[in-house]
């Protein structure tokens, strides 16, 4: 495009060019001092401030807080059986925060992505709800519940006098209708699957009197409350016809009429604009009251802004546009810290401790071969090393987990040893075996095996003369894992083990894990659900599980210890008492970390942040970190 007619830029105009470029460069640099500063470039000798663990007490009621006027106003009186919460707050205001995802559908019968699931909690209620702060199931539409002596019959007593947000009364028939729709064969969903037992049977639904729903399971189900908590109660008067003729899944999509979303949640759906926002207003019939007998929720409106880009989400919060920001990634921590430091009266950063998500590496212990070529999935010489427990222990000792946290997470994380780190208050096990970073010990174990270092290049060869070398894969789109892979390679170099680190496409990795089985070692991570119960991880620990990564979908348990884990999981499924379940879980943790087919490495810290003008904030490491109790949040002075 620069055609021949362009004369050379010498002479007087050359100075202009230089001056302009210099100005531009200075402007860019001045505008991005922190964007360019790499947090890793810190001087090694700099002392890190060790912060005392931040705790978040339950918000206390304060009777001096002004009451304010709700707009829209409440309708009628609170039901006699209203749920009373020990909170106080001021009516009014609009809470604004961002969500990263999109709304797939509002339909509560068939839940989709995380954002959709979070939004439907604003509009619908279930019988029981999980409290992110107390880590317990709490009553919601069910005033109370009980379980029979044989632990198979569950009775839920429904709150009386509750009204739908269209003014109709909620009855036991609605509750029965919701469960029957959920169990309908035509509406198969993950919620329905959850209720199914080993033999694929669903619980029986019955009604006793005019206020009790009875669920009878065929086997004892330790997770019944979790599954019941997933069933959103929907109005029979609105959907009876659609449920009967099989079309209810086509209703309540993200393009539906707001009037269709009749629920008993704290808010009413007002408007959804794709890729922009979802707006909710107060449900004037909500059935919770506060310490002064005032009805909840305090907020007039909630605006959820749909922001895809993490940077932009942070910028918008920093500019004061949003009240709350959750799941702050580690690389925004310094900005968050600075914002808090410069505006102590305005912002509070919640250091929520260690996140429940984990990073791990896993060995391929699959004994099979490719059906077509007859080639073993794992090279026999590698299989010989991988199946040697002592070798795995040596590697475990050789990985510097603190180093991984320091370098790949800028120190904002924690070394972990088992599937449930200390952040998991309920399921972290003391029986988890630890393998502290100890090169001497790692070397000693390998020497003892007779796998000696080659004096030429310092790499080890095993007792059969094969050099110890394997490949490590992770997904290419995850920078933290990529960095960790590089560090592990360096760590293992120190004990004479050669690692070929190859990041790959995520889908390719999943294909390798589940179908081709042709891999050596993989570095990946698990996310945690709510509630963070081991029952969610059955796919990983059961030998027949799809994500039993080191040897998935075994027909019968391949080893004794895997058989023991299977039987322990079965026992946990049939046990309601936490203490006994924990005992079994402790044993599983012990077995898993003794055998270490999968080696847990580290977890990042979790952070959220809110303006101090948001009242009753009670953050939790469980998601959604701040807005889980949105029916109790209120704005002080209009949320400035």
């Amino acid at each position: 495009m620069h055609s021949r007619s362009c004369p050379t830029d010498r002479g007087h105009s050359g100075r202009w060019t230089v001056a302009f470029l210099a100005t531009l460069a200075v402007a860019c640099l001045a505008a991005t001092p922190w964007a360019l500063a790499d947090p890793q470039d810190k001087k090694p000798g700099k002392r890190r401030i060790v912060r005392k663990k931040q705790t978040f007490p339950e918000p206390k009621p304060d009777l001096t807080v002004p009451i304010g006027t709700p707009s829209p106003a409440f309708v009628g009186e609170a039901p006699a059986s209203a749920m009373k919460l020990e909170r106080t707050g001021t009516y009014g205001g609009t809470l604004v925060y961002a969500e990263q995802g999109e709304v797939d559908t509002f339909n509560p019968v068939e839940p989709k992505g995380a954002t959709s699931q979070e939004l439907r909690r604003l509009m619908f209620s279930s019988l029981v709800g999980y409290s992110n702060a107390s880590w317990k199931w709490e009553p919601q539409l069910a005033e109370s519940w009980s379980v029979s002596d044989d632990k198979k019959t569950w009775r839920f007593k429904i709150r009386q006098g509750v009204r739908w947000n269209d003014g109709q009364p909620l009855t036991i028939a609605d509750v029965e209708f919701s469960f029957k729709t959920c169990f309908d064969d035509r509406y198969k969903s993950s919620i329905q699957d959850g209720f199914r037992d080993e033999k694929g049977r669903l619980p029986m639904v019955a009604v006793e009197g005019d206020d009790t729903l009875v669920l009878t399971t065929h086997d004892i189900d330790s997770q019944l409350l979790t599954h019941a908590g997933q069933v959103m109660i929907i109005p029979k008067h609105k959907w009876a016809e659609q449920s009967a003729d099989g079309t209810i899944l086509q209703e309540m999509t993200n393009a539906c009429d707001p009037g269709d979303l009749v629920g008993t949640g704290p808010f009413i759906f007002q408007e959804y604009i794709p890729a922009q926002k979802a707006v909710f207003t107060r449900n004037p019939y909500y059935w919770k009251i506060d310490a002064r007998g005032q009805r909840l929720p305090y907020l007039d409106r909630v605006v959820i802004v749909l922001v895809k880009d993490q940077n932009l989400r942070w910028q918008k919060f920093e500019a004061g546009e949003h009240h709350v920001v959750m799941d702050i990634p580690g690389d925004h921590y310094r900005e968050a810290q600075a914002l808090e430091k410069n505006n102590r009266d305005k912002y509070q950063l919640h250091r929520l401790g260690v996140n429940l998500n984990t990073y791990w590496i896993c060995w391929n212990l699959h004994p099979g071969s490719n059906k077509d070529s007859g080639k073993p999935y794992v090279d026999p010489k590698k299989r010989y090393w991988f199946n040697n427990k002592k070798f795995r222990h040596a590697i475990n000792h050789a990985i510097d987990r603190q180093g991984l946290v320091k370098s790949a997470m800028q120190g904002r994380g924690k070394a972990i040893w088992g599937a449930y780190n200390v952040g998991n208050k309920l399921w972290h096990s003391k029986t988890t075996k630890k393998y502290p970073y100890d090169l001497a010990k790692a070397n000693a174990i390998l020497d003892e095996l007779g796998w000696r270092k080659n004096p030429d290049d310092d790499y080890r060869t095993d007792d059969q003369g094969n050099m110890i070398e394997f490949s490590l894969n992770t997904n290419v789109d995850n920078p933290i894992r990529q960095q960790m892979g590089g560090l592990i390679k360096e760590d293992l170099r120190k004990i004479g083990v050669k690692v070929n680190f190859q990041p790959e496409n995520f889908n390719l990795l999943v294909d390798k894990l589940q179908d081709s089985h042709e891999w050596d070692v993989i570095l990946l991570g698990w996310g945690a659900g709510v509630p963070p119960d081991p029952a969610n991880a059955k796919n990983i620990v059961l030998s027949r599980g799809r994500l039993h990564a080191w040897h998935p979908q075994q027909v019968t348990p391949a080893t004794e210890w895997e058989a023991e884990v299977d039987s322990l999981v079965a026992k946990m499924d049939r046990e309601l008492e936490y203490k006994k379940r924990k005992e079994h879980q402790d044993r599983i943790a012990e077995l898993m970390t003794e055998e270490c087919p999968i080696m847990y490495l580290c977890s990042p810290n979790a952070y959220s942040m809110a303006k101090k003008s948001v009242g009753n904030v009670w953050p939790s490491v469980l998601r959604p970190q701040v807005t889980w109790n949105i029916d109790q949040l209120y704005l002080i002075d209009g949320g400035r």
């Binding site: 495009m1 007619s5 105009s13 559908t105 694929g200 895809k308 932009l312 918008k316 889908n507 999943v510």
Partner: protein, 387 residues
């Protein structure tokens, strides 16, 4: 000219089918699908995954009748066959829950079958079969439901099309509105200060990646507070504004992203204008016109510019083709609720129906843009004959 248009339009269906086939196969041949991400979620059951794949048309639920017709097959060291009553393993009847691991995935002939925990069997739909189904649907105007949103894809695209157009048209106006005058200004006296300044602007616009420029602009907005940080309107207060305020608010939000996209395209057009003008100004007819004593403005705009503008008209036609796709990255960075976020997400997530529909719309626009460019050229330049 009409035969030209008709001939051009007749090639469109062939072209679209070709593009569709390539897009479809590229998506299918790359590893994984929309549901791969979910397969790594421990809380997702196989039953749920297979059901979702069947809903999406990636797999098909197989009825008992079809299963019974299958010949017996060997997998996991045993021979299996299906009967009306259930499954036989080595001739012995077994419950489906007892063999769910052995029969999790099995092949009969070349067909891949998968069974879930509850004994439901699905078969894989091959790429060509899938493409055939897509074509049949498309012929009937049915482009399928998005895997993620479970809604017709054109409904989703239409929701956002106008937003993208708003941004692209504003950028187009900025680009052309600045490119032609600046290009002419630069060409009048090559080597002068205005020429160099224009060259610098062009240099800047051509060399800065739009994503980085967009990020800088977000930063600028956040540091100065003069402009909103992303979005198309004030998300919280927009609904309560008067009409005039709404217009002002929209323009305020439109400014930065339009500048970002506009500068990039403007730079190229400006250099093109300048080059053409410089060349035109050295032509004999310009010297003749000057010698005739015509005013410099008349020479410039009536004689030189008219001749210099032809290649630009072709460029203008092409720029129509990029109306929908040119702003993709900037839309993502600046949270513009246009098609980009939908389509970029869909590409990464492999939400095939959306990608297919978006590629079809994009290709169609490219073809039409070219056609418009050719027609415009014929209209303005009497030397061009279309036949």
């Amino acid at each position: 000219m009409w035969t030209f248009i008709i001939r051009r339009l007749l090639t469109v269906p062939l072209l679209l089918i070709g593009v569709a086939l390539i897009t479809f196969l590229l998506q299918r041949w790359a590893p994984g699908d929309f549901f791969t991400q979910m397969e790594m979620d421990p809380s997702k059951t196989t039953a749920d995954l297979l059901r979702m794949k069947a809903d999406a048309g990636l797999m098909k639920r197989v009825s008992t009748d079809t299963l019974v017709e299958l010949s017996s097959f060997r997998t996991a060291g045993s021979s299996f066959s299906f009967t009306e009553q259930g499954i036989l393993r080595d001739g012995q009847p077994v419950a489906s829950t007892d063999v769910r691991t052995e029969l999790r995935k099995f092949t009969v002939g070349l067909r891949l079958f998968e069974m879930d925990e509850q004994g439901a069997v699905y078969r894989e739909i091959s790429s060509l079969e899938g493409f055939g189904r897509w074509c049949l649907g498309a012929l009937r105007g049915n482009f399928g439901l998005s895997f993620q949103h479970r809604r017709p894809v054109f409904e989703l695209i239409m929701e956002r099309l106008w937003n993208t157009l708003k941004l692209s048209l504003a950028a187009l106006v900025i680009a052309w509105g600045l490119a032609v005058p600046l290009g002419v200004l630069a060409a009048v006296k090559p080597g002068s200060l205005p020429d160099h300044l224009c060259g610098l602007i062009a240099f800047f616009g051509l060399s800065i990646p739009s994503v980085f420029f967009a990020l800088l602009m977000v930063l600028f907005a956040s540091l100065t507070g003069w402009f909103p940080i992303g979005d198309m309107v004030d998300v919280v207060n927009y609904d309560s504004m008067s009409l005039w305020e709404k217009v002002k608010n929209q323009v305020h939000h439109l400014f930065l992203p339009a500048i970002v996209i506009g500068t990039g395209t403007m730079a190229g057009y400006m250099r093109q204008t300048r080059g053409n003008m410089v060349e035109a100004l050295t032509q004999d007819y310009v010297r003749t016109a000057r010698a005739k004593g015509l005013s410099p403005n008349k020479v410039l705009f009536k004689h030189a510019l008219r001749n210099a503008i032809n290649p630009l008209i072709t460029l203008f036609g092409y720029s129509l083709a990029y109306l929908l796709t040119g702003s993709f990255l900037v839309e993502v960075v600046m949270n513009w609720p246009g098609m980009a976020r939908l389509v970029v997400d869909a590409i990464f997530a492999k939400d095939e129906p959306i990608v297919m529909a978006a590629v079809m719309v994009g290709s169609l626009l490219l073809v039409l843009g070219n056609l418009v460019a050719d027609l415009l050229l014929a209209l303005t330049d009497p030397r061009v004959r279309l036949s």
